[in-house]
Structure formats: structure tokens, C-alpha cells
């Protein structure tokens, strides 16, 4: 038995592999699979029941192959091993007949559907996606009850296999975008996709992009709205997020969940987010530009109070600002890493450092503290952590240009950022465009 020999060899290196001999009716067979993925007693029970039915209808054992699994020739080693990795059960009959691959009862390895961890919903559906791909698709299908939903499944990677699913709404989707996306996925399907960065390269986007090319969301509601808007939703196995393509600038400000509020509040909230982004990118730059290059722009009262708060501060405004910004970024980063139970400590320590001690020590001026606190709070008014990161970066561009050229540099920085955003497009869809459904398409 060549196949069994191979499997035994493998078992010596992979303790998880089981090779289990049982009798199905009167035929001796060997069951092979991964212990951690297959619930063996339940599966055997299932097999026994099915075999009993087959025997009752007086057909040979192999007939079960027609009913419950598919055949693989014993010589097709690669296919057998692939099936085992995917968590399938392989039945090898003792004679030289082809073996049978079948869906076992698998162990429950993903959590149940829970509330979202990274997004908060105040009004709207609360269940979030999980790590299990099929569960996710199920949730989306339940959310979008329509026969226009199309689903394509791909296996990505050669060494590290991962299942990916593309969902789109027939009729709403931008067909040229979909075609190019599918082409990109199909032509790179042998590439391993362990993380979203490689997904980025696989789809042909530059790795140095400062703006995320796909949004991620945990909420089925958002995914379903995106589908209706004509976007493509992609699920990766073991990733509890829906990946929404293409990402547009509007996604930073407008969440579909906003539509659960009255229209006026929706508009006000969205305006607030735009203001938040502007504050976040511009405020540190404005401070440095006004304090060190163009104090004439300030009103005299403000100029005097800022000047008063800066008396005795040893560093120029730019050093002062960068110093405190870096501290703030450190606190933000630490807050993500820390377990929730220690999270309060960092708030307290950070509060002491930034609130009082830095000012008392005359390291920075207290006006700067106010400005940077506003900046940090404002950066999280945007939707999605991935978007918050990109605007966190862009404020440094504005800051440096403002330190060099003052108010002129501030505007130069805004122009640089706008030009950069305008240069981005994914599969022919510009980043600075509004989503439009098929009916409104202009060509």
C-alpha cells in the first residue's frame, strides 16, 4: 500500500494526523484525517449509519462514493494531502480501489456570532462577522435577501492555502471594475496571502500607499449597503472582516449606519467628521506656522497669551510639537497592545504626563497641549481605524511644511495631500469619486 506508507511517514512528522482502521459493514477501511479538525467519533457514527442504509439497499460499499463523497485515485498523493489540510476525511479501502474524500463532522473552531469588537453601533444591527467564511457569507445573504447576489470562491496560495470569496450584486456592480478585480485575483491565485499587505500587492496596488485601498468592516449591515452601492465585498477565511473594494474618500466620513438616524443628524454627524479630519491634519501645522513663522496672523490677545505660555520653553515650536505628538502616538499604540485590565493605567499615567507635568516642567506650552488633545480626539471621528491611520500620517507632512514655510507651507501641505489623494485610483475607480449606482452611471 503505497499511499498508506506515505501517510505513515507523514504521521511521524505530524502528530495530528490520524490513521484509523475500522470496518464499515464487512469491508475493512482506513480513515485518515486531521484530529484537530475532525470530530472523529461523530464522523464514524455518521459513516456507520450511512453504510447501514447502503447495505440495506444491497449495493456494494463503493456505492457510498456516489452518495457522500468524491473519489480520488490512490496515486494522486497531492490531492489527498490537500484534502487532509482542508480538513476533509479520506477513506482508503483495503483493496486497491480509489479512496473517497468526504465532508466529515468538523470540530467547532470558530466563535459564535458576537457583537463587533472594533466598531461601535449605537443604532442598527449588532452581530458582527466571525472567522468562519461560510458563516460570514450566510450572514450577508441573510442581510441582503435578493437573488441578484453573486458569489465566487477562489483558493489562494500554494503553500499556505486560504479560501477567498467575492460577493457582488448583479446589475449594481461596476462591471469593468469587477472584471479587473477578478482578473487580478485569478492571475495571482498561487500567491500566498497571509495578511492584508500581501492582499494589497496581490491586487496590484503599491505597497507604499498611504491610503488603504480597501475598507474593512465588521458589520454585515455595512457590507450589505456596500453591495447595494455596487461595491465588491471580499471575505478571506479566518479574517473576521468584510473587505470592501474600492475604497473611496467618502467612506472616511459616511457610514451607512448613519442612515439609521434622522437626516439632519446624519448630515450634522458627517460634517462633524469632516471637521474632525481637518482639525487633525491642520491643527499641529497651524500652531507651528502661527507661533514660529507668521505670528502676525493671530489676534494680538491670542498672540500675547501664546507668547506668555511659551516663556521659558527651551525648544522651538516644531521640536516641541513633534515631541508631544510622538508621546501621543506612543500612548495610542500602547493602548492597543495593552490588555483591557491595564488599560486604565495608561490613561492615568498619560494624563499625568501630558496634562500637568509637561507644562509644569516648562517643556511645552499649555496651548500646545490643548491643540494636540483636540487633534488626537479628532483623529478618531473618522470611520474605520485604517482611515484614522492614514490621516495620522498626513498631519506630519503638513506639520513639517508649516514649520518651514509658515501659513504658505500649510496650504502647500494641503495641496500635496489633495494631489496625492487625487492620484490614487483602484482598477479605474478614482479615490476621490462618489459611489454611484448603475442607473446614475455617466458612461
Amino acid at each position: 500500500m503505497e499511499l498508506l506508507e506515505h501517510l505513515r511517514n507523514r504521521q511521524r512528522q505530524d502528530a495530528d494526523l490520524f490513521i484509523h482502521r475500522i470496518f464499515l459493514d464487512r469491508y475493512p477501511v482506513t480513515l485518515v484525517g486531521a484530529t484537530s479538525l475532525i470530530d472523529l467519533p461523530q464522523t464514524v457514527k455518521l459513516l456507520q449509519t450511512q453504510v447501514r442504509h447502503v447495505v440495506a439497499s444491497e449495493s456494494p460499499l463503493l456505492a457510498i462514493s456516489g452518495g457522500i463523497g468524491e473519489r480520488i485515485g490512490q496515486e494522486e498523493l497531492v490531492k489527498v494531502f490537500e484534502a487532509i489540510t482542508e480538513g476533509k476525511l479520506i477513506i482508503i479501502p483495503d483493496n486497491a480501489d480509489p479512496c473517497i474524500k468526504l465532508f466529515p463532522i468538523s470540530r467547532k473552531l470558530s466563535r459564535s456570532i458576537e457583537a463587533p469588537m472594533t466598531e461601535n453601533v449605537l443604532r442598527g444591527g449588532i452581530s458582527a462577522f466571525t472567522e468562519d467564511l461560510d458563516t460570514n457569507i450566510g450572514i450577508v445573504k441573510k442581510q441582503t435577501m435578493t437573488d441578484k447576489l453573486r458569489i465566487h470562491t477562489y483558493w489562494l496560495g500554494s503553500g499556505l492555502r486560504r479560501k477567498a470569496t467575492l460577493l457582488y450584486m448583479d446589475g449594481a456592480v461596476n462591471s469593468s471594475f469587477l472584471r479587473e478585480l477578478q482578473l487580478a485575483v485569478e492571475s495571482h491565485s498561487t500567491q500566498d496571502v497571509p495578511d492584508l499587505q500581501t492582499l494589497n500587492t496581490m491586487l496590484g496596488f503599491t505597497r507604499w500607499s498611504l491610503v488603504t485601498r480597501f475598507n474593512t468592516t465588521e458589520l454585515p449591515e455595512n457590507a450589505s449597503f456596500a453591495l447595494n452601492e455596487g461595491k465588491v465585498v471580499m471575505f478571506l477565511d479566518r479574517l473576521p472582516f468584510a473587505i470592501v473594494l474600492p475604497s473611496l474618500v467618502g467612506d472616511m466620513f459616511a457610514s451607512d449606519n448613519d442612515r439609521n438616524y434622522p437626516l439632519f443628524f446624519m448630515l450634522a454627524i458627517r460634517l462633524l467628521r469632516i471637521v474632525g479630519v481637518l482639525i487633525n491634519t491642520l491643527m499641529p501645522g497651524v500652531y507651528v506656522a502661527l507661533v514660529s513663522v507668521n505670528p502676525d496672523v493671530l489676534r494680538i490677545e491670542l498672540a500675547m497669551s501664546i507668547a506668555g505660555s511659551r516663556v521659558g520653553v527651551p525648544y522651538p515650536a516644531i521640536v516641541e510639537t513633534v515631541l508631544l505628538l510622538v508621546t501621543l502616538e506612543l500612548i495610542l499604540e500602547a493602548c492597543i497592545r495593552l490588555p483591557k485590565s491595564i488599560g486604565t493605567t495608561i490613561t492615568m499615567v498619560g494624563g499625568i504626563i501630558l496634562g500637568q507635568a509637561v507644562v509644569e516642567a516648562r517643556l511645552v506650552s499649555n496651548v500646545l497641549i490643548i491643540i494636540l488633545a483636540a487633534t488626537t480626539i479628532a483623529s478618531f471621528t473618522v470611520i474605520g481605524f485604517h482611515n484614522a491611520i492614514s490621516i495620522r500620517i498626513s498631519k506630519y507632512v503638513v506639520l513639517i511644511l508649516s514649520a518651514l514655510f509658515g501659513v504658505l507651507g500649510l496650504f502647500a501641505g494641503m495641496i500635496v495631500i489633495s494631489a496625492y489623494l487625487a492620484s490614487i485610483s483602484s482598477f479605474g475607480v478614482p479615490y476621490l469619486s462618489w459611489p454611484r449606482s448603475k442607473e446614475q452611471s455617466d458612461g
Binding site: V291, P295, L298, M304, A307, G308, V313, A403
Partner: protein, 360 residues
Amino acid sequence: MNVKNVIPYASTMLLIVGMMTLLCGCWDNKDINHRALPIVMGIEKSEDDYQVYLLIPMKDQDKNSALVVSDKGTTINEVIDKMNKNLEMQIDLLHLKIIIFDRSIAEKGLNDSLSSFMRAGDVSPKTIVTITEHKLRPLFERMNAASLNNGISLYDYFEKNAGWSPHLAQTRIWHVFRSMQSETKDVPVPLISAGKATALESSGSAVLRKGIMVGKISSDETLMFNAFAGMGSQGKIEVMNQASVLIVSDTLSHSTSLVENTPVLNSKLTLKVTIIETKGSPTATLIQQELEELWTARYIRMFRKVQSNRADILGLGQLFRNKIPMDRLKYWRDDYYPRLKFNFRIHAIIQNEGLLKMKE
């Protein structure tokens, strides 16, 4: 992007960033706490030199104090340079709010100093111009002693949203500069002196003709000027010991004609007023009549005064620009303006009659 592509790309970026930092000149930027920001500048002539005073608010948050610096030199810039040398901060005139000229300078003309301020751009054209008839040192000492909030509040004296009153002319550098260049418009400049209880006191306005002081008008006449310029609301007028009224709004309409080379101007000023105080029980019609007569007479008197000075502070020449040929405009002040026939009428509308009705 593979390594081969990255290297030229990265080196280009490095070059751009390097050039930007090396060539920008940003090391000359001075932080705000290293700049002295004077609020008031005083200029007087002593013999042939300029004596310049600066009132610089100090930046200590807890203390309210200001510093008065003064020095002498042949030009204003030279004086500022001398002060710079002696101060531990750099003087930045961009926040200068008030310039006080000595009367003797104003009578010789503000042209030199103001046009150099306009040209150099280191003083904001929005800066208020004033003239004083007294010595500058006691004035500055008084301002330093009496002003709150490091002297910043001195600026509020002239701020429309703060302590300004319509009895005070509000003239900025660019107004004076415009009058220096224009053939048909002059400006009044507030006359100030050190106050007794307050920091500043105003005693009317100086009349500037092409940047040269030629006369004076009183505070009440300044109110009339402001009403003529559309800034008279909130101004109060006493009517013949019988009532005092408050101007709520004023509108002005003109018609002009040139009869045998003599300019004729018919103006009608509509004042909407409210009565704030009465003595006895005058009727509304009486107050209205007296107000109209009183103010018409006062207007004509003020007009005669500035007409004899040949200074067109009301800007009446502006109304004749479409009637007088371009090449004759330069004779406006000396030829046409002294011959101008000014027919002025005031129409007063009393808006609150309730108080009077109650008294009846």
C-alpha cells in the same frame, strides 16, 4: 516595486527633502516668545531727529506690565534698529495697533513716514493713526500706568466692537495714505492726549489735507463726520436742553450737478433716532424740528470750516468725479471745492414716541 526601482526613487525623495531643509531658510524663524510685539508707537521730532516711543506688553501671564522703550535717530528705521540692539527680543511691528504722531510732525506732513510704512510692509496698513498735541513721554507713562491687560486694551479704545464711540474718528494708515494719493478725499485723524482717570482722552480730530494737518474739528463735529460716513449709529445728540436722542441708523442720499463750473451738491441725511431723555414735556414734532435745524446748522458750520481749510474730509469730491474731467480733478481741492454750494437737509425720524405720550 522591486529594489532596483526603489533606489532612484528614494534618492530623489531624499534630494527633495534635503534641498527643502537646506534651502528654506527656516532657521531665521523666530518663535513668538522671542519677538517683542509693540502695541503703540509714538513719534515726535526733537530738533532734527525722530524720537520714537514703543509700548511693548510683557508676556508674563501672571503680571500685567508693559515696557516703554524710546530712542532717537534720524530715521524711524534707525531708531527701531537701535532698540532692537538693546532689547533681548526682536521687535516685530506687525502687531502695532496705534501710531501717535506729534502735532509738529503732523503739521509738516505724515507723508514720509506713512508711505515708508506702506512700502516696507512691516507695519500693518490697518494700524490706527492718531495725533497728540502734548508731549509723548507723559502720554506713554500714563498709558503704561492706566492700561489693563499689558496695554493690549489700549487698542480697544479704537475697536468698533469694543470701546470705540462715534465721537472718535477711526482712521487707519491706509486711509491717510489714500488721502495723500487721492485728489478728492481727505481724512480726519483723532487727537488724543493722556486722560485723567482713563488712559486716553480725545479732544476732537485733526483735519488732514494730503497728509498735512491743517485744522481741527471738535468731538461733536467728528460725530457728524461719522454720521456722514455711515458710522454714526449709537451716537447721542443733545437737542436744545430739551431732550437727548440716540442715532439708530443713518442713510445719506446725494444729487450733484455742475452749474457753470460751480459744483452744487444737494444732500439729504435721514436719521432714525430714539429719544432717551427729555426735560419737561416737549412734543415729538418739536424735538424733530429742533434736531433738524440744529444739526443742519452744525453741519453747515463744520463744512465751512473744513472748506476754508481746503480739506475735503467728507469726500464730497468723490461725488463729482464723473462730472469733472480727469485732467481737472487735481484742481478739486483748490479750485472747485472752495466754490462748492452745499445744500444740506436733515430728515429726522423719531422711532419711539411712547415715552413722550406717557408724559402728556
